[in-house]
């Protein structure tokens, strides 16, 4: 809680600086009577002081918190006795460091505590304490220094408003650039880990291999020690579940959009549309629970009555429920594009004697087709990236099968399974999750870009 106290203290300093800034500006200009000689409103001088007090100090604090851990760890590693470090792999050194940290913070330690480790832990704790003290001192000094700098700079001619406003503008630019930073962060983090994975396992094996069993060896001489990382079964599993979902969602979503926009009365539409859209707001974990505990047993019993062997975690159950989840997605997108088709097209069709369904099938749908296709592509990318339903209702076994009653596994399920166990960060198993994540990101991104460009192109046509 140390850091929170410091942040609160910093806020207090900022508030103080704000008040003093206003006071200072009024004093410098010669009292309230002369206030119209100030360049800006007094509050801007206050804000100017508060910003000088807060921003540099907060930046320093952020940097400190971000790099303190790295820095101390490096220092402690450098001072570890050489005989402890010699002939150890990077992973084992990490383990030792973990023990040291746990010992320093009073957690449970995995190995026996040797004097060397105890000494290192003591040093770690000492460094940490020192760092925290220095951090408080430096941050508060910087805040007070900033405030006094503002105090010294404050004079009636200073263009406080312009300065404050340009700071706000810069902050807004930074905020809006966060989107790019995020994308960059995703790409870089996933890419780097994936590249490290592909150093261990060739991309050819990953993308074309048909055997997925990501075991890692406990001993170096173990049989089958490398594990198999052929992701084809995952891709086919993902495709199968998504396909089942689409088979459910596309007809139902499309037909209900057509009915609600072309046939239904105003009251029916006002009542049915929001209720169907409730399906979009239900958390996916709820769907997963529904799929695993309600739909899957029903399907298994149905299969048993007609003599079919259905796996308890079948692709069908996950796909069906995912389809239900996607219905509102397709129906509201299709609804939008159908409503965007100009009434003149329909009127022309009616004038030629077409029935309403003929108009819909032969005029409205073809006119809206690009938008509908775009919507379906977006829905496919949704289905591919969906996680909770398949984690809860589809299986873990990487079967290469075309039977929807079998258990399959998907890319997202494997990412979750690989990353939720306890394992070291650098093993091929963990890195494989990032390679899968990269594949997922690239595929869904491509689908989205394609879909959005189709939708946009279409929208322009009728405007």
């Amino acid at each position: 809680m140390h850091t929170w106290t410091l942040i609160l203290l910093l806020l207090a300093v900022m508030a103080l600086a704000y008040h003093l800034g206003i006071k200072r500006a009024i004093t410098r200009v010669g009292g309230l009577k002369q206030i119209n000689h100030l360049h800006s409103l007094p509050t801007y001088y206050g804000l100017y002081a508060a910003l000088w007090a807060g921003i540099p100090a907060l930046l320093l604090l952020g940097l400190w918190l971000g790099f303190q851990d790295h820095f101390i760890t490096t220092l402690v590693t450098a001072q570890l006795p050489p005989d402890l470090v010699a002939a150890q792999s990077a992973g084992q050194i990490d383990l030792i460091l973990n023990d040291i940290k746990n010992l320093a913070t009073g957690n449970i330690v995995s190995a026996t505590v040797t004097p060397e480790i105890q000494a290192a832990a003591d040093q770690f704790a000492r460094f940490e304490q020192l760092s925290t003290q220095a951090q408080w001192l430096a941050v508060l000094a910087l805040a007070l220094g900033g405030a006094s700098f503002a105090w010294w700079r404050t004079e009636p001619q200073m263009r406080a408003r312009n300065r404050v406003e340009s700071v706000f503008l810069v902050i807004m630019v930074i905020f809006s650039s966060l989107a790019i930073l995020t994308t960059l962060g995703i790409v870089l983090s996933v890419l780097f880990e994936s590249l490290r994975f592909f150093e261990l396992i060739s991309p050819l094996e990953f993308f074309l291999g048909t055997n997925w069993s990501p075991q890692i060896a406990l001993r170096a001489d173990q049989v089958g020690a490398t594990g198999a990382f052929g992701a084809i079964p995952l891709f086919t599993g993902t495709l199968m579940v998504s396909l089942i979902a689409m088979v459910v969602a596309v007809p139902i979503g499309l037909m209900s959009a057509i009915y609600l926009s072309e046939y239904a009365s105003r009251t029916v539409r006002a009542f049915a549309k929001p209720i169907i859209e409730v399906l979009a707001g239900i958390p996916t974990v709820v769907y997963g629970f529904f799929a695993a505990l309600t739909v899957a047993p029903v399907i298994r019993e149905l299969g048993a009555t007609v003599g079919l062997e259905v796996a308890s975690e079948s692709a069908l159950a996950a796909g069906l429920v995912m389809g239900v989840m996607i219905i509102p997605f397709i129906s509201s997108l299709a609804d939008d594009v159908i409503n965007a088709v100009p009434q003149a097209l329909r009127d022309g069709s009616y004038a030629l004697g077409a029935t309403q369904s003929e108009t819909v099938r032969l005029v409205v749908i073809p006119a809206a087709l690009p938008g509908i296709v775009g919507g379906i592509l977006l829905a496919v990318s949704r289905a591919i990236g969906e996680t909770m339903i398949v984690v809860m209702a589809a299986g873990m076994a990487a079967n290469l099968t075309a039977n929807p009653l079998d258990s399959v596994t998907t890319v997202t399920v494997q990412i979750v399974t690989l990353l939720t166990g306890d394992q070291e960060f650098d093993s091929a198993k963990t890195l494989a999750a990032f390679a899968l994540g990269l594949t997922l990101f690239v595929v869904t991104l491509a689908l989205n870009v394609l879909a959005l460009s189709i939708v946009r192109k279409y929208r322009e046509q009728y405007q």
Partner: protein
């Protein structure tokens, strides 16, 4: 000229009279109208199917979960003798807390069934009450020390199997090997029921306790607090950032490559699978910056990045709906560009932005996939009390309970889902009301 309507007849058996278009049309009308009706019915069927899915989902969850809000208790005359609880007579909380209340409950149970002497049978008898029943009695005694030395009828928490039995989720007539409860136990429970010693009472444990391996002791308070801290921090981070970004992009940004790039990015981020944000959180926030796992802090950072596109898009729509005349009037009386935005445009756009923020928060409340990556699936009993305590959140708690084999957890999972859906409903309602109240037509 006279054969304009003369279309070659399709069948040679047709009459020699040349057929006119109107006849062909008339002949096909019946088929076409039937088709029309079919199409229409198909549409109505699709809508009905969609609606029935909603009904099915809700009724399934509610019918499975509503029973979890009641919990079975067994009334036992507990001899709270002073010698056992507080031999020194000091009534100090520490002494009271250290006493063996489980033994008192076991004594009371044995009194109810005096014929039982065999050790195995006694052990099965003791299994009627929860392993945590002693702790609950202790809480009662510590809160009310006057009970010591008396024999009081107290309601003691029953085991989850007994709870299921009383609620009828275990079929008493099924073959003994098919159910988790033996005939002997059913006999005891029936006897207690006949004495009026078994009752279902409102399940406060579910709402006030953290999770537990024992279904009857498991509650959602820990997960709720975790969700609360996560959402609070997410809102504090994502709302200012989202509004700032929207203001810049909508009102200040020059039309150039950089802002185009930002826009494309925001639209794409809104469609990135949520699990990828989990990977980002794991690699960057935990791996690089060393933020502790399983904390609301790291969860909130991931959620902020995830909800930001939603909030930015909604805020931009809200800003667009403020008419330009407001800006022009403000600029006309000498306000600076930023003053115009902060003093005039922003207050008018705020309700729309808040609506977007609430919807974004509702999404974040229901999201669980990225949180699995950043360690929120740890088994945490304690109720978190800050942003850096280990915690889990409600949807992840649901995921964890859904994996548990005990029948009683199915009920509790459904109940947790009901609570989650209730919160989502309230948030969406707030968004709708906010929109109704402040929506302006210019």
């Amino acid at each position: 000229m006279n054969n304009i309507n003369n279309i070659p007849s399709t069948s040679p058996a047709a009459s020699d009279v040349p057929r006119r278009t109107i006849d062909i049309v008339n002949a096909s009308l019946k088929r076409r109208y039937a088709r029309e009706r079919r199409f229409r019915r198909l549409g109505a069927f699709a809508v009905a199917l969609g609606l029935s899915f909603v009904v099915l989902l809700f009724s399934d969850i509610v019918s499975k979960g509503y029973t979890a809000f009641a919990q079975t208790y067994i009334q036992l005359p507990l001899n709270l003798s002073a010698e056992v609880i507080d031999p020194s007579g000091s009534r100090e909380p520490a002494t009271l807390a250290a006493a063996n209340y489980t033994k008192l409950i076991r004594d009371a149970l044995r009194q109810q069934f005096p014929d039982l002497t065999e050790r195995q049978a006694l052990r099965r008898l003791y299994a009627l009450v929860s392993v945590g029943a002693g702790d609950l009695v202790r809480e009662q005694v510590v809160a009310e020390p006057a009970l010591i030395g008396t024999t009081t009828e107290l309601w003691v928490l029953a085991d989850d199997d007994i709870d299921m039995l009383v609620k009828g989720n275990i079929d008493r007539t099924a073959a003994p090997e098919d159910r988790r409860v033996s005939d002997e136990t059913i006999g005891w429970v029936t006897q207690l029921e006949q004495q009026g010693r078994v009752a279902k009472r409102f399940n406060t444990i579910f709402l006030t306790h953290g999770t537990s391996r024992e279904p009857e002791l498991a509650g959602i308070a820990g997960a709720l607090m975790g969700s609360f801290y996560t959402l609070l921090l997410t809102l504090l981070l994502s709302f200012p950032i989202g509004v700032g970004a929207a203001l810049y992009l909508e009102e200040f940004a020059p039309k150039n490559r950089w802002t185009d790039l930002i826009e494309v990015n925001i639209n794409n981020l809104a469609a990135v699978p949520s699990i990828v944000f989990g990977l980002l959180g794991l690699a960057v926030f935990i791996g690089f910056f060393g933020i502790p796992r399983s904390t609301p802090l790291v969860a909130a950072l991931v959620m902020t990045i995830m909800t930001l596109p939603t909030i930015i898009i909604a805020s931009r729509v809200a800003l667009k709906s403020v008419p330009p005349s407001i800006r022009e009037a403000a600029l006309g009386v000498g306000a600076s560009a930023l003053q115009t935005q902060f003093h005039h445009v922003l207050p008018l756009a705020l309700p729309g932005m808040l609506t977007g923020a609430i919807i974004g928060m509702a999404r974040a409340l229901g999201e669980s996939a990225p949180l699995l990556m950043i360690g929120m699936i740890a088994f945490i009993v304690d109720i978190p009390s800050g942003f850096t305590d280990s915690a889990t959140v409600l949807p992840v708690q649901i995921f964890l309970w859904a994996d548990s084999p005990e029948r009683a957890f199915v009920e509790r999972t459904s109940a947790a889902i009901i609570v989650l859906l209730a919160f989502l409903f309230l948030m969406n309602l707030a968004a709708v009301l906010l929109r109704r109240k402040f929506e302006r037509r210019w």
